[in-house]
């Protein structure tokens, strides 16, 4: 266990994590590109036309992965925020704030593609369906997290304050989701299943590959962003000075 502990603390220090992240970014970028190409090929050329929804169903190859990523990123963000609060590690707070913009972007994309999917399928750009509504609320939660972080000038206060907010948010997400679902069934407005019919294996594969592609994309972008955050937070340390003179 001793080895594991040493590694843990070693990589939780910004000074060691910064170059490590720099080395990892190209691999994740390459993975993201390859998986995107494969996923798009599967989605457009291998997966057959849906007998009910025609070609319009192909939107789910980005809609569903974007929606999954938006939720996954929020959970990961809250986990990092929690680690930052409990262990007081600077790196985890920086990771949490680096994740937020990408998570908000995927939430927005899930809403956008959901609207474009809903118009031909349901006949309306927006339906107060439980999933779409929860996704909208998730976007509000991301915006709240980022605004709180941006409003506090002192990083020593901004990190724990936004971290606490992320944790409160992640506790509330299931409650909000369940209540929106209940509200939706009571008002019996839009009880539409997005894919009630059994899905073909190729469709599912394409969706999963696209999810992994977005996941790798997220890792690559977030690592780049966390490198920015690390540089700004540690700008007066010696290792940053060494790093800068190396790169210039």
């Amino acid at each position: 266990m001793a080895v594991g502990q040493i590694n843990w603390f070693k990589f939780s220090s910004p000074a060691t994590f910064y170059p490590l992240a720099g080395k990892l970014i190209p691999y994740f970028t390459a993975l993201a590109v390859v998986l995107t190409v494969v996923g798009l090929y599967l989605g457009f050329f291998v997966a057959p036309t849906d007998y009910k929804q025609g070609e319009g169903y192909r939107i789910i190859f980005i809609h569903v992965p974007a929606a999954w990523m938006s939720m996954l990123i929020y959970i990961v963000m809250a986990a990092y925020a929690g680690m930052g609060l409990v262990f007081n590690t600077r790196l985890s707070s920086l990771m949490a704030s680096a994740l937020a913009p990408t998570g908000a972007l995927f939430t927005f994309l899930a809403l956008w593609t959901g609207a474009l999917w809903g118009k031909p399928m349901w006949g309306a750009w927006w339906v107060w369906d439980a999933r779409l509504t929860s996704e909208l609320i998730l976007l509000f939660l991301y915006i709240g997290f980022m605004s709180l972080k941006a409003a506090i000038d002192d990083p020593r206060r901004a990190a724990p304050a936004s971290g606490l907010l992320a944790i409160i948010g992640v506790i509330n997400v299931p409650i909000i989701y369940k209540s929106v679902e209940w509200w939706n069934t009571l008002h019996q407005g839009a009880t539409i299943k997005s894919s009630g019919t059994s899905m073909e294996t190729t469709m599912l594969t394409a969706m999963l590959v696209m999810t992994f592609a977005m996941w790798m994309y997220t890792v690559a972008v977030v690592l780049t962003r966390v490198r920015c955050e690390i540089l700004e937070a540690e700008r007066d340390t010696e290792w940053v000075a060494a790093e800068l003179s190396k790169s210039s």
């Binding site: 192909r58 939107i59 974007a66 994309l109 474009l116 920015c228 790169s247």
Partner: protein
């Protein structure tokens, strides 16, 4: 293979606007995010480098 020709592919069985609207905007936004992050990284490195040189001059 689903498509007889390139035209058929781009028509998406009449759903061209919705399908390409989704994929296009997603591609655009992800691209913009990448550009913004890379640009941010570059400006930070430049700014901190300048700051470092200035502090070195002040010390001398």
């Amino acid at each position: 293979m689903n498509w007889g020709s390139a035209g058929e592919f781009f028509a998406m069985g009449g759903y061209a606007f919705y399908v390409w609207g989704s994929f296009g905007v997603t591609a655009l936004f992800l691209l913009v995010e990448v550009i913004m992050v890379v640009h941010r990284k570059r400006t930070i490195v430049q700014r901190l480098g300048r700051r470092m040189r200035m502090q070195a001059e002040v010390k001398q």
